[in-house]
Amino acid sequence: MTPPPVRAAGFGWTYAGRSRPALHDLHFTLDPGQLLLVVGPSGCGKSTLARALAGIVPHALPGTWTGVLLVGDRDVAGTPPGVLGQEVGLVFQDPETQLVMPHVADEVAFGLENRGWDRERMLAAVPVALAEVGLGGFEARPTGALSGGEQQRLALADILAPLPHLLVLDEPTANLDPPGTAAVLQRLADLTARRDRSIVVIEHRRDALLPLADRVLLLDGEGGQVAFGSPAEVATRHPGALAGGRTWPAVAPPAPGAPVAVEVDAVSAAYPPVAAGPARAAVDGVSFVVRAGERVALVGPNGSGKSTLLQVVAGLRRPTAGTVRLVDPQGHGDDPARLPSAALPGRLALVFQDPEVGFVARRVLDEAGGTAAAPILERFGLAALADEDPFRLSTGEQRRLSLASTALQRPSLLLLDEPTFGLDERGRDAVAALLDEGRHAGQAQLMATHDPRLLPGCDRVVALREGRVIFDGPAARFLGSPPYDPPDPWRLGGVVPRVAVGSAA
């Protein structure tokens, strides 16, 4: 009889140099062929569990191990990672830091070479694994030219190729656009339906994964186990814990006739050529306005020009045609690219997807604007961290700090690039509350986002495809009939994968 793919008995782990454990007292057993969904707030040790199942913890990272964790019949603590690697495949969150080789076929073969497979077997296995994730025929493509969703499916092919018994996926869709998310989740649903492998998934899109899950492991904020059981059991005992992500509450429309804050008129911009980068579309004749007190969402698949457009609006990149007019309260318009740096902070701010690139100070308090910012840190829940180095904060804390540093300067236009990337529910709520405050004060907000759940909280949606505006209107109308093909991934809850008939039992 096959042993259970995962058994934890009092398992815990404390990273070297930390006083509190990342995980403690886990007790659960997963049965063969089951899918386990791991749920818990940011920083609860979910990723640590994924690392432990693959043997990275304890073999590649220092720390203290307690209890027992078995993968199949192997004790993780006592098994060299090379041996454990035969049993377990791990997919990480970020596609770009897990793909090793410059071309697709070489990338899949990399893990097989590490296991010493002979060449004939590799030549046969690579196309099979690629076909399994819907990338058949992609063998010779450069990995850098794939979309984010394709890259994550490639990462899945990487771990499927060596035929492990256990697949572990650590937030595989966190960095993807809606079509990419839908494609990855659909592949996961197909794998689950076959029941020939056990799967552990850490995923913040619970709504999408619950229909696939056989078991749920619920963790608290301190790395302890709250519950383990079927989704129905866990939902009964801990109502709310498995609820789908909250959508952003609808906002009252801004006062009619609010003045224009920024006017984008027939803007085109070309991407610079980048080595081995994805084929990049340009921004092509885009026009729209954002008014004071208005929140506009900029949506579109990867590569549709959202980030380029944000950079043009911020004056960081000169358009090849068209104009951007940043209008001050007196009605005077300026080209943001021509304004001196010193004049910009009160006019516009950009919250980067990677908040770290914007950090200029070595202390949280200084980063937020000095002693005058102390009350702001309080409101952003960062007061206790005032003396920390901004680089040592978690992603959620960094994003809040990044927003906090714009609060003192009160820009009339706030640009945001994926403001909720990598945030859990709590983090998303905190960001939403802060943005609402700014909006009420008459701030114009333009945010690029992949998350349909944010759209109800926006006054308008501007949708891009291949650099052109294909929709500009109320969020409700966008969500009702998304102007993309297929439209479903762009709807609220639209990324739920189709479960194969007869497998959900």
Partner: protein, 263 residues
């Protein structure tokens, strides 16, 4: 905007693209030894012209993008050549004829010869590097280094993986500049710009380091460097063409050095 150039699209059927990276490396080292060994500008010129013939006829490297790629090498050659020509000890020998006077500086025939030789040598080095590294992608070069020279896998494929992160790091550098501009902190003077570099560099390095760490974990998780012997998906085999390229390189170098040393 980006300071990472797109890779050159090399015609893969070209002879130089069909030999292994180690063969090209060996031929290139021979060429550089010859460049160091020939005593004068004429010898360097012969080496350079030969390398240009190889470039045009057998490398498969497209010529059109080269001026934009190679101008730093040309500029370096010019600068070093001028320095050597005008700073030559012979230039102070008043017995020698003056070819050119630039204020206190004068150019004499031995100075000109030395400057020319150095400039040509720099061009030979630049062109040789191009011929060695441009015809194969990074993967093939790593394969050859590991399989033929038995370089550690960790070093070779670790470098391949790290190169994949380079474009991101370049983008981070630009983003740090953008962020400073928006925060009202853009330096207005060249000195200020220079002073901002350490801070920006710190951010970029921290981010690159984190990314590298995540990549290393991902590689470990896939069983890289776990002590098991690795097998080879892309075997590298030297063939008759490799022998021919090496033989031609040896013959050319011996010939040039012999003629130049005696002549």
């Amino acid at each position: 905007m980006s300071f990472l150039p797109a890779p050159l699209l090399v015609r893969s059927s070209a002879p130089l693209a069909r030999v292994t990276g180690v063969t090209r490396l060996a031929a290139g080292v021979l060429w550089l030894v010859a460049a160091a060994a020939v005593p004068d500008a004429r010898g360097e010129l012969v080496l350079l012209v030969t390398a240009v013939i190889v470039l045009v006829a057998w490398s498969g490297i497209p010529l059109r993008p080269l001026p934009r790629r190679m101008w730093p090498v040309a500029l370096g050659a010019l600068g070093l050549g001028l320095t050597a020509a005008l700073g030559n000890a012979a230039d102070r020998d008043l017995a020698l004829p003056t070819l050119l006077a630039l204020g206190p500086l004068r150019l004499t025939p031995p100075g000109l010869e030395a400057g020319l030789a150095l400039a040509l040598r720099v061009l030979v080095i630049g062109l040789t590097s191009l011929l060695v590294f441009a015809p194969a992608d990074l993967t093939r070069l790593a394969d050859a280094l590991v399989q033929q020279l038995h370089l550690p896998d960790r070093l070779a494929y670790g470098s391949v993986a790290a190169m994949g992160l380079a474009p991101r790091t370049a983008a981070d550098w630009q983003a740090t500049g953008s962020a400073r501009r928006l925060r009202g902190l853009a330096p207005r003077t060249p000195a200020g710009r220079l002073a901002a570099v350490p801070g920006r560099l710190l951010v970029v390095l921290v981010m690159a380091f984190r990314r590298g760490e995540r990549l290393a974990l991902a590689m470990d998780a896939r069983g890289f460097d776990s002590g098991l012997p690795r097998s080879r998906y892309r075997p590298v085999r030297a063939g008759p063409l490799d022998a021919v390229v090496l033989a031609v390189a040896v013959a050319a170098v011996v010939l040039v050095v012999a003629v130049e040393r005696t002549g």
